[in-house]
C-alpha cells in the first residue's frame, strides 16, 4: 500500500512548523494513520461526518454550538469513569463496581454537604475517600485473595448496592446550591466548567500513564505479570493503585452527577449503565481488553463516539431503549474486531524456544517487514 500525501488543508497547524528531518505534518499524519489511537480519531471524524449527514437529511443540524456543548456535557460523566476504567483494563483487570460507586458517592455528597455551602469541601473529601476505600478493597481482593477481577468487582458492587438500598430509597436532597451552581452549571467563557474537569482528568491520567513509573509499570503488569515480577516490579502495588484511581474517577463522576441533579440518587449510576459503557468506551478507544496495550486519549475518542451516537439517536428520535440494543451490538463488534487484530499480533510472540511451536522464523520475517 502506498501512502498518499497528506491533505495539508486539513491540518494547517502542524504543517506550518515543518522543518528538520521529517516535517511535523508528515509525523502527525503518521501518528494519525499508523497508531491505534490515531485510527480511533479518524473513525471518530468519520462517524461525526456520517451522523451529521444523516441528521442533516432529517432537516436538523448536529453541529450547532448548543448541541456540541450538549455532547461535551454528556461526555463528562462517562468520560471520567472511562478514564479510570482505562487504567485497570491496561493492567489486565476490570472494574464493574463503578456504576454503584457513582450512585453511592452522589448520595455521600448530598449527605455530607447537607445543603450548606460551607460543607462543600468536606463533601468532596468524603466522596474521594469513599472512592479510594472502595478501590482499595477491589484491589486487595483481586491481588491478595486472587479473585477473578470481574467476580471481585461485581461482588463489591452487590455489597454497595445493599448499603444503598438499605439506607436510601429515593433521591437524597442536600447537595449544596453553591456546588450545584459552580461545578454543575457554570461556565468559563464558552466552556462549561465540567468540560474543564473532564480535560483535567484526562490530562492527569495521560500524564500518569506516560510520565510516571506507575504508568510504565502498569503497562508492564498488564503485558505480563510474570515478566514484570522478574524485573522487580511490585505488581500488586501497581494494580491496587490502578484500582484506587479507577474508583476515585468513578467518585468524581458521582460528584459531578450530584452537582447536575442537585441531589444524590441511588440509581444514577446504574441507570446510566456506566459499568458497561465505560468498558465500551475503553474498548472502542483501542485499548486491548486483555491488558498491556492502550491509551487514555483513545478512550476519550471512544467516549465522544458514544456521545455522538447518542445525540444522533436523539435527533432522529430513536426510542431510548433501542439505543441500548445498538450499544450492545457496538460493544461486541468493537471487541470482536479488536480481538481479530490482536490475534495477528499475538502470534508474534517473543522468543523462540522449541516449545513455541515453531513461530521463530515467522517472528523474524514479520519483524523485518514491520
Amino acid at each position: 500500500m502506498t501512502t498518499s500525501t497528506p491533505p495539508v488543508a486539513q491540518h494547517p497547524g502542524p504543517a506550518a512548523q515543518g522543518g528538520s528531518q521529517r516535517s511535523a505534518a508528515s509525523r502527525f499524519w503518521r501518528a494519525l494513520t499508523k497508531t491505534t489511537t490515531g485510527q480511533v480519531y479518524l473513525a471518530l471524524i468519520a462517524i461525526l461526518v456520517i451522523c451529521w449527514a444523516v441528521v442533516a437529511i432529517k432537516g436538523s443540524n448536529l453541529l450547532t454550538i448548543d448541541s456540541i456543548t450538549d455532547m461535551l456535557i454528556r461526555s463528562v460523566a462517562l468520560g471520567i469513569v472511562a478514564a479510570g476504567q482505562t487504567l485497570v483494563i491496561i493492567g489486565m483487570s476490570l472494574d464493574l463496581s463503578v456504576a454503584w460507586v457513582i450512585s453511592l458517592t452522589s448520595i455521600v455528597a448530598a449527605v455530607v454537604m447537607d445543603g450548606s455551602n460551607g460543607n462543600i469541601v468536606p463533601g468532596i473529601l468524603a466522596v474521594l475517600a469513599v472512592g479510594a476505600a472502595i478501590g482499595l478493597a477491589n484491589g486487595l481482593i483481586i491481588t491478595k485473595l486472587r479473585v477473578n477481577p470481574f467476580i471481585a468487582t461485581l461482588g463489591v458492587a452487590l455489597i454497595i448496592q445493599s448499603i444503598i438500598e438499605s439506607n436510601w430509597d429515593g433521591v437524597v436532597e442536600g447537595v449544596a446550591k453553591g456546588f450545584e451552581n459552580s461545578l454543575g452549571y457554570s461556565e468559563i467563557g464558552p466552556l462549561p466548567i465540567a468540560v474543564l474537569l473532564l480535560a483535567a482528568v484526562y490530562l492527569a491520567v495521560w500524564f500518569l500513564l506516560r510520565y510516571t513509573r506507575f504508568g510504565h509499570q502498569l503497562y508492564a503488569v498488564g503485558g505480563s505479570e510474570e515478566v514484570s515480577k522478574l524485573s522487580g516490579v511490585r505488581t500488586h502495588r501497581v494494580l491496587i493503585t490502578a484500582h484506587v484511581i479507577c474508583a476515585v474517577c468513578a467518585a468524581i463522576t458521582g460528584l459531578y452527577l450530584a452537582s447536575r441533579l442537585g441531589a444524590g440518587s441511588p440509581l444514577v449510576g446504574t441507570d446510566g449503565g456506566y459499568d458497561l459503557e465505560s468498558i465500551a468506551a475503553v474498548v472502542l478507544g483501542g485499548t486491548y481488553l486483555l491488558g498491556g496495550r492502550g491509551s487514555v486519549l483513545g478512550t476519550l475518542a471512544g467516549v465522544f463516539i458514544l456521545a455522538i451516537l447518542d445525540s444522533t439517536f436523539n435527533a432522529l428520535e430513536v426510542n431510548a431503549f433501542a439505543k441500548d440494543v445498538v450499544r450492545g451490538v457496538i460493544i461486541i463488534v468493537a471487541v470482536a474486531a479488536y480481538s481479530f487484530r490482536a490475534k495477528g499480533r499475538r502470534v508474534r510472540k517473543i522468543g523462540a524456544g522449541p516449545a513455541a511451536t515453531g513461530n521463530a522464523p515467522q517472528t523474524q520475517t514479520q519483524g523485518a517487514n514491520a
Binding site: 503497562y219 522478574l230 498491556g292 517473543i350 523462540a352
Partner: protein
C-alpha cells in the same frame, strides 16, 4: 572421579583466567521429589571468561543454571560470588547479586519499547516523572557499546524486532543491571547464520568488559570459537572441566556421549517384516519446514533426531494437522489425504503423544478414566460405536498401576504414569500411526524402559511409529531408521544403529560447505529485503 583430579583441572583453568574466580559453585545437588538430578557439581567461572557448559539433554545443564539464577534452590551445595556465599530464594535476589540469565524464551514485553524493557522496574526518575530521555540515551549507549553493528532504536517496540535483536535487548538489560555473571542458554538455537556471527562479536565484547559468561550450547564449533574452558556434564554429574585449547571436538563428543550402553532397549523388529508405507509426505513445507520427503512404514519405528529448533516438533505437528503443511502432498496407505486439523488426523488413524504432557496431552484435573477416553470421545459417532472402549483393559495394556483407582485425577500421577495415560488415550482410537515427541522426557529412569517397551510393542503390532527424541541413546536404541533434521529440513537418513557422532555431524552440519552457502543466502536475502524497504519509502 576423585576430588584431587578435579582441583588440578580447575587450577589449570584458573591459570588462563588469572585472578580468583568470580563465581564458584560447590557441590551443588538437586533432587525433585526424590529424583536426583544433580549429584554434587563444582563449577567456577572467572571474570572475563566464557565458560561453556556442554552435555546431552538431561545432563543437568539447565537445572544447574536455574539454581544459579535463583529459580530453584539447591538441595545441597553453595554458590559463592566474589568471595561472598549467596543464597537465592527468588530470581530477583540472584539478579541483585549480579547474575543474569537469558532463556530461550525471552523475558521481554512485546508491546513496550526497547528502553522501557531494559529499565523495567528501575525507570530513572527526574523528580516525579520518568526521565524518558535519559532512559533512551542510556539504552542507546549500552546498545552501541556491544552491538554497534546492528543499530536498534531505543523507542522501537520490542515486538517488532527480530529474534536476534530481542536477544540483544536482553543482553542490554543484563548490562544495565550491572550483571557480573551472564548465563546464555542455547543462544544461537533460533538465529540465522549471519546473526550468529554478530552474537559472537557481542559475547566477545562482554568478555572484554570483564563479564563472566556461562554459555550453554550443543554446537561444538561455537564453543571452540568462544570458550576458554568447557565443563562437560552427564547424567547430573560433572565429567570434567577442560581448557578449550587442550581438547579436540572429537574428544569432547566422546566425553559427552561416552556412556556405557547399559540402558535396556527392547529388541528391534525384523526388517523383513516391515509393512507397506503407511504415511508418505512429498515436498511438505510450512513456514518453518521445507522439502520434507518422508515415508513411514507400518511396523517400524522411524526415529527423528536433530538439535533444538531444527524443526522436529514442527514436523510432528504438521503431520498431525496442528500446524498443517502448507505445501506438498500427504498420502496414507497410498491414498492422498488432506489433514488440516487434529480431528482429521485422528480420523485417519493418527495419534500424537506430544512433547508437553501437561499442557497438550492431559486434562490434569480430570480422572484417569476421562483422560483415557478423551480422544475416543472426539471420534465421529459411527467410528466410536465400532470401537468399544474398556478403560481398564487399556490401562492394563499400558501397565498403568494407580493406587487411587481409575477415578484418580491424573495430576497426582508420576510422570511415567501420566505418559502411560496419554498412550492409552491413543490406543483407545486404534491408531495406524503414532507420533511420539520426546516420549520419555521428565520420566525417571526406571519408568523409561516401560515406555520403550510400549512403543516397540505398538510397532510389533504393525503400527507405524514416528519417534522424536533429543536423547541420542534413545533414538539409536529404539529406531529402525533415523532421519536427522536441521534448519527445518531433513538433513539425512541413517539406518538402524548409527553412532552418536554420525547423528551429531548431520544435526550440526559440521562440514562447513553447507553452512557457508546458507550464510551467503541469508546475506543475499537481507540485501534484497533492505533494497525493498528502500524502494517503498
Amino acid at each position: 572421579m576423585s576430588p584431587g583430579e578435579e582441583s588440578r583441572e580447575a587450577a589449570g583453568g584458573a591459570a588462563t583466567a588469572t585472578r580468583s574466580p568470580l563465581l564458584q559453585m560447590r557441590g551443588i545437588k538437586k533432587d525433585f521429589l526424590g529424583v536426583h538430578v544433580l549429584h554434587g557439581i563444582d563449577l567456577e567461572c572467572a571474570a572475563g571468561e566464557v565458560h561453556a557448559i556442554v552435555g546431552e539433554n538431561g545432563a543437568g545443564k539447565s537445572t544447574l543454571m536455574k539454581i544459579l539464577a535463583g529459580v530453584y534452590t539447591p538441595s545441597a551445595g553453595e554458590i559463592i560470588i566474589d568471595g561472598t556465599p549467596q543464597k537465592f530464594n527468588h530470581p530477583l535476589e540472584a539478579q541483585q547479586a549480579g547474575v543474569s540469565i537469558i532463556y530461550q524464551e525471552f523475558n521481554l514485553l512485546p508491546d513496550r519499547t526497547v528502553a522501557e524493557n531494559v529499565f523495567l522496574g528501575r525507570e530513572p526518575k527526574k523528580g516525579f516523572i520518568v526521565d524518558r530521555a535519559k532512559m533512551e540515551r542510556d539504552t542507546a549507549k549500552l546498545l552501541h557499546e556491544f552491538a554497534p553493528d546492528d543499530p536498534i532504536a531505543p523507542d522501537e517496540l520490542v515486538g517488532r524486532l527480530s529474534v536476534a535483536q530481542q536477544q540483544t535487548v536482553e543482553i542490554a538489560k543484563a548490562l544495565s543491571l550491572d550483571s557480573k555473571i551472564l548465563v546464555m542458554d542455547e543462544p544461537t538455537a533460533s538465529l540465522a547464520a549471519h546473526e550468529v556471527e554478530r552474537l559472537f562479536d557481542r559475547v566477545k565484547r562482554l568478555r572484554e568488559r570483564g563479564m563472566a559468561i556461562l554459555y550453554i550450547s550443543h554446537r561444538l564449533k561455537e564453543i571452540f570459537e568462544l570458550a576458554q574452558r568447557i565443563t562437560v556434564l552427564k547424567d547430573g554429574n560433572k565429567v570434567k572441566t577442560v581448557n578449550a585449547d587442550e581438547v579436540t571436538s572429537a574428544e569432547l563428543v566422546k566425553l559427552m556421549v561416552g556412556r556405557e550402553l547399559d540402558q535396556y532397549f527392547p529388541p528391534r523388529g525384523d526388517p523383513s517384516k516391515r509393512g507397506d508405507v503407511k504415511l508418505r509426505v512429498r515436498g511438505g513445507a510450512t513456514e518453518v519446514l521445507s522439502n520434507i520427503d518422508l515415508d513411514i512404514h507400518a511396523g517400524e519405528i522411524l526415529g527423528v533426531a536433530g538439535l533444538q529448533g531444527s524443526g522436529r516438533t514442527e514436523l510432528a505437528r504438521a503431520i498431525f494437522g496442528a500446524d498443517p503443511f502448507l505445501e506438498g502432498t500427504v498420502e496414507i496407505d497410498g491414498k492422498p489425504v488432506k489433514i488440516n486439523s487434529p480431528k482429521q488426523a485422528i480420523a485417519h488413524g493418527i495419534g500424537f503423544v506430544s512433547e508437553d504432557r501437561k499442557t497438550e496431552g492431559l486434562t490434569l484435573a480430570q480422572s484417569i478414566r476421562d483422560n483415557v477416553a478423551l480422544a475416543w470421545r472426539g471420534l465421529a459417532r459411527g467410528r466410536r460405536s465400532q470401537l468399544s472402549i474398556n478403560v481398564k483393559d487399556l490401562c492394563q495394556a499400558v501397565e498403568l498401576r494407580s493406587r487411587g483407582g481409575l477415578g484418580q485425577e491424573v495430576r497426582y500421577l508420576s510422570g511415567g504414569n501420566q505418559q502411560k495415560v496419554v498412550i492409552a488415550k491413543w490406543l483407545a482410537t486404534e491408531p495406524q500411526l503414532v507420533i511420539f515427541d520426546e516420549p520419555t522426557r521428565g520420566i525417571d529412569v526406571g519408568a523409561k524402559a516401560g515406555i520403550h517397551d510400549l512403543i516397540r510393542g505398538l510397532a510389533n503390532e504393525g503400527v507405524a511409529v514416528l519417534m522424536i527424541s533429543s536423547e541420542l541413546p534413545e533414538v539409536i536404541g529404539m529406531s529402525d531408521r533415523i532421519i536427522v533434521m536441521r534448519n527445518g529440513q531433513i538433513a539425512g537418513e541413517l539406518p538402524a544403529g548409527p553412532t552418536e557422532a554420525e547423528i551429531m555431524f548431520l544435526a550440526t552440519g559440521e562440514e562447513d560447505i553447507e553452512a557457508k552457502t546458507e550464510a551467503d543466502l541469508a546475506k543475499i536475502q537481507e540485501e534484497l529485503s533492505s533494497a525493498g524497504e528502500g524502494g517503498k519509502s
